[in-house]
């Protein structure tokens, strides 16, 4: 009877099996760490957009919006929340495959991954990357409808909400605006409406509260910037992200 030792050695000989070269293990290890890094990066980018959306939520007009609970519910950035969670889970999973990961407690690594992702996400938001990324992605077809539900919630003229980009400022009482569906609106302001000069600029994105008069006319009683709290533009300019800005 052939011993197991001889069987194994004979198989190795016959099939010309050789030990894998060391570089393969090195590359595998590097790829694992790279996937951990990229996953943290992706999660942080998604998280920076969540912060950007949260900071620029419609807190300033919430009191004036009927059904505010459902408004908040429908404007949450679900796609980015899911993307962040998926990135967190994937990062933890990939980290677990690394050589010494087994030495660390699950709770510790989950916390570490969460901390790294959110901290980097805050930095990305702070330097304006969240806003820049949102502006870049906005060019993709369907992005606003699917990824950023806030746009849809501000395209409800029947409920007195309209948002879009100013195409032309006729005078301090009248503007021409294009909404996200590319419909053109003639917007007039009610008597006594406070219209900040800084908002009356062609290309500026704004939110309006008021009522529609016809399918092309809107009477606004309040005008607000689309992005209420922009990160310091200087920081973005320093990073040369200005060409990607949506406004």
């Amino acid at each position: 009877m052939i011993s197991l030792k001889n069987k194994v050695l004979d198989t190795i000989e016959e099939k010309e099996i050789e030990p894998k070269p060391e570089w393969k293990f090195t590359v595998h290890s590097w790829l694992l760490w790279a996937s951990v890094g990229l996953s943290i990066l992706f999660g942080a980018l998604a998280f920076s957009i969540i912060i950007f959306f949260s900071v620029n939520g419609d807190w300033d007009v919430l009191a004036r919006i009927p059904n505010r609970v459902s408004f908040i519910f429908f404007t949450l950035p679900y796609a980015w929340l899911i993307a962040t969670i998926v990135a967190l889970v994937f990062t933890e999973h990939q980290y677990r495959q690394t050589r010494d990961a087994y030495r660390h407690r699950y709770s510790l690594t989950i916390f570490g991954v969460f901390l790294a992702t959110t901290a980097l996400g805050f930095i990305f938001y702070y330097v304006g990357i969240g806003q820049m990324l949102d502006a870049q992605l906005e060019r993709l077809p369907g992005y606003e409808q699917v990824i950023n539900p806030r746009v849809g919630m501000w395209n409800m003229v029947q409920e007195g909400r309209l948002a879009g980009k100013i195409i032309e400022v006729l005078d301090e009482k009248e503007i021409v605006m294009m909404d996200s569906q590319r419909n053109i609106w003639l917007v007039t302001f009610e008597e006594g409406t406070e219209v900040p000069e800084t908002l009356l600029t062609s290309g500026k994105r704004v939110r309006l509260l008021g009522r529609s008069l016809t399918k092309e006319e809107f009477k606004a009683k309040r005008i607000l910037p689309w992005i209420a709290h922009e990160p310091d533009r200087l920081r973005i300019e320093r990073l040369k992200f200005v060409p990607g800005m949506k406004e």
Binding site: L4, K5, V8, L9, I17, E22, R99
Partner: protein, 194 residues
């Protein structure tokens, strides 16, 4: 670096294997019997299939021999390969690997009793067969750690490395495994203080 003399010898044999594959035969001889017992405890495959699995484990280990971690014992490394291979084999065949504590030899039996009981006034043979039955009914995840601890006599560090779980998780699993063992033993009518 592994300070254990046996561990050092293993690592020397690993280095020798990279120069002359015949040296690998010595590692096979050293680990053939314990690994076969381990595989048979992890899975309920036939003796023939267990032999085939073991052969595949040694070939896989040979292919990956440059990945041996010098900070870890070769023993833990090859047990890890064996465990992963049994699990992946189970996934491929979609057959549940049910461990069967086929042999509870005296050393294992004494180790178990030392941990589970203070009372030594019992019929050892009756208890041995009862323990065999209780082990067969434990949850897979608990059996996994109990086999490594009591049958393969692995340290916590080695168990953590083999299962790729943190040592704290291993300790928790062992505690739960003991608890489940006590409950199942009680249900099976085994009367000794646990």
């Amino acid at each position: 670096m592994n300070k254990h003399p046996e561990g050092r010898k293993d690592h020397e044999l690993v280095k020798a294997t990279l120069k002359h594959k015949e040296a690998y035969g010595l590692l096979i001889e050293r680990y053939e019997a314990p690994l076969l017992r381990y595989i048979r405890r992890l899975t309920n495959v036939s003796d023939e299939d267990a032999d085939d699995l073991l052969q595949e484990v040694f070939i896989k280990a040979y292919q990956n021999i440059r990945d041996v971690d010098e900070c870890q014992s070769f023993s833990a490394w090859i047990y890890r390969i064996a465990r992963n291979h049994v699990i992946s084999n189970y996934r491929k065949r979609n057959v549940r690997p049910e461990g069967h504590a086929s042999e509870i030899d005296d050393n294992v039996f004494d180790a178990l009793l030392a941990d589970f009981s203070e009372d030594k006034s019992f019929d050892r043979e009756v208890l041995r067969s009862q323990l065999f039955e209780v082990f067969g009914k434990l949850d897979r995840k608990y059996l996994d750690v109990l086999i490594l601890k009591y049958f393969q006599e692995k340290s916590y560090e080695e168990m953590a490395y083999i299962t790729q779980k943190p040592a704290g998780t291993i300790a928790t699993l062992l505690n739960r495994a003991k608890k489940q063992f006590r409950e199942r033993a009680k249900k099976a009518g085994i009367h000794f203080e646990l």
